[in-house]
């Protein structure tokens, strides 16, 4: 692996919410094709670190270096889509925002791939599993090289977990980079590298 393989470099990034330090200054480097697990108890700073790496949250301190032109997808802990739109409408909207030329075709493919209903029912009326799969489908729009998943299986039953991991690992098999936060010890086995956090600090 050469220096040119890096996708994302965090230099001393930290995040504070008011007086509370959610993440102490942290250095992280993500390389192409690797799978990284973020583990730690609740409040350890996993979601904060993932949000910072995803660019969804500005750091209070430190800098984040992204490889120019890097495409990344992010699945937040809570569903990041519109509850009053149908799964198809959500997918088409985000596909258009990604600049996709055929949002309808992209949405149809994603609905089939993730087994999502296309009945006109709004997303708010879907099961937790379906909502999580929709979030993942949205995260995968725009063909991301780096996929960041925040506790993707937390509210899912075993069957839905398997389905989700199948899609996530398909991404890595295709050469993509995967970073996921989890509290499920059996999921650590999917990772090549583990970063453990406690009280906002990287401990391993």
């Amino acid at each position: 692996m050469t220096d040119g393989d890096w996708l994302l470099r965090a230099h001393g990034i930290a995040r504070r919410f008011g007086a509370a330090h959610a993440l102490e200054p942290t250095d992280v480097e993500l390389r192409a094709g690797e799978t990284v697990a973020l583990i730690g108890p609740n409040g350890a700073g996993k979601s904060t670190l993932l949000s910072l790496l995803a660019g969804a949250l500005p750091p209070s301190k430190g800098t984040l270096e992204r490889r120019p032109g890097l495409r990344s997808g992010w699945l937040p802990q809570r569903p990041g889509h519109y509850a009053r739109l149908t799964p198809r409408e959500n997918l088409e909207l985000f596909a258009r925002l990604h600049g996709d030329g055929d949002p309808s075709g992209v949405a149809t493919a994603a609905l089939e791939r993730f087994g999502l209903p296309d009945s006109g029912k709004t997303t708010g009326a879907l099961s937790v599993g379906n909502r999580q799969r929709l979030s993942l489908a949205i995260a995968l729009l725009g063909a991301p090289e780096l996929l960041l998943l925040d506790e993707p299986t937390a509210a899912l039953d075993p069957q839905q977990r398997d389905l989700l991991w199948e899609v996530a690992l398909e991404h890595t098999r295709a050469g993509g980079t995967l970073v996921f936060a989890t509290q499920q010890h059996e999921e650590i086995s999917h990772a090549e590298r583990v970063i453990e956090l406690r009280e906002g600090k990287v401990v391993t």
């Binding site: 969804a56 990344s72 569903p79 990041g80 258009r96 949205i138």
Partner: protein
Amino acid sequence: MNVIRELVRKDLLVLRRSPALAATLVLYPLLVTGLVGLVAGYANTKPRIAFVDQEGLPAQVRIGGHLFNVQRTLDRVSQNARLVPLSRGEATRELREGRVVAIITVPPDFVGDLASMVRSPTLQLETTTGGVGPRVTQQVEALVYSLNRELQDTYIETNLEYLRLIEHGGDTSFLGLKYHVLGLDGTKALLAELPGGPRLDAISAFVDQAKVALARSDGAIRATAHPIVLNRVGGHGRTWALSAQVQAYALALTITFLALVLAAGALAAERDEQVLARLTRGLASLWQVVLAKAALAVVVSLALGMALAVAFGAIIQIGGVRGGEPWVRLPLLAVGLALAGAALGALGALLGAIARDGRTASLVAVLVVLPIVFVGLVPPEVSRSAARVSDAFPFVHAVRLFTAALFDVSPWRRLGVEALWLAGLGAVYVVAARLAARRLLV
């Protein structure tokens, strides 16, 4: 631009999915407009004025041979005020408590002075202090004017009777004594019985001249009493409810409510649904998200504003109101609606960013709408401070712009000034909303 269009389209789709919310957003401001109209209408109704009768007015008063029913005369002349007979003490107390806006006192000897036709009787007026005082004074002056006109006609009629007596002769009475007046006609008849001569001819010529002059005095006296006559032309004009002012206020109030609540709720909802962080990861900037909410307000304001204007115009046309609706001005109104919608949407986005969550944002927007509207309803001549405060909000500029767009003969200057105000306020609110929107990412 595509990003803003996509976000607006999404918000419109979400709005369409909530028909109850959409209906409430349309009906509520119309209801408030109606209530404001009622309150304004109430303000136009007769003020309550205490009538203190220290004279002890009789039921009927004879002036110059004419009999006046006092109560009926007062009812007839007091079209703009409700006179309430009260004692001096009650009237003073009610004026202090604000239950009457003025006291009119009829002093002793009022009827005596009136009937004498020699000295003008005097009424005393006391009004409340503050904003309504000048208006009440005007209304009482109008009442006294109406009363004077009634009496003037009687006085003129009485004086003309005297002139007719001089011209034609006849019986009359003064201070209880009866007289017979020979008159010019009788004089002429007596002169005809006398032997002729130059001196008699001169007297006879004077009698003829006096008769001609007196024959013309009727119209001259009436014209002197009423140098200018106001002739009220009948016709089917706009009622107060269909007035230009009400139309402008209804439009402005409706879009103010809609734009503020929608933009505030829509921006805060992006955070509620955890989508804002996803959008700002390269799909849309915070500027674009804020501008999309202002654009949403523009689209909704335009659609609803034009629908209201067309409905209003249809009522005017169907009702056959003189002048009709200025249909040709609707494009100007559309420009005004878009500008006002943008400025109000930007203000709504600012409220949404400050409030952060959807429910709080909607509540804050509703709470903010009413003071903005009510301070905008206060006329500048009543309170300069209120006018300065309302200048900082788009509502009052929207009202002026809509009025100018629809009804001013030469609207361009006023349109330009108010459009600049709205554009300036919109720019300030957009920048403030963008700065505040950073809070939504935390």
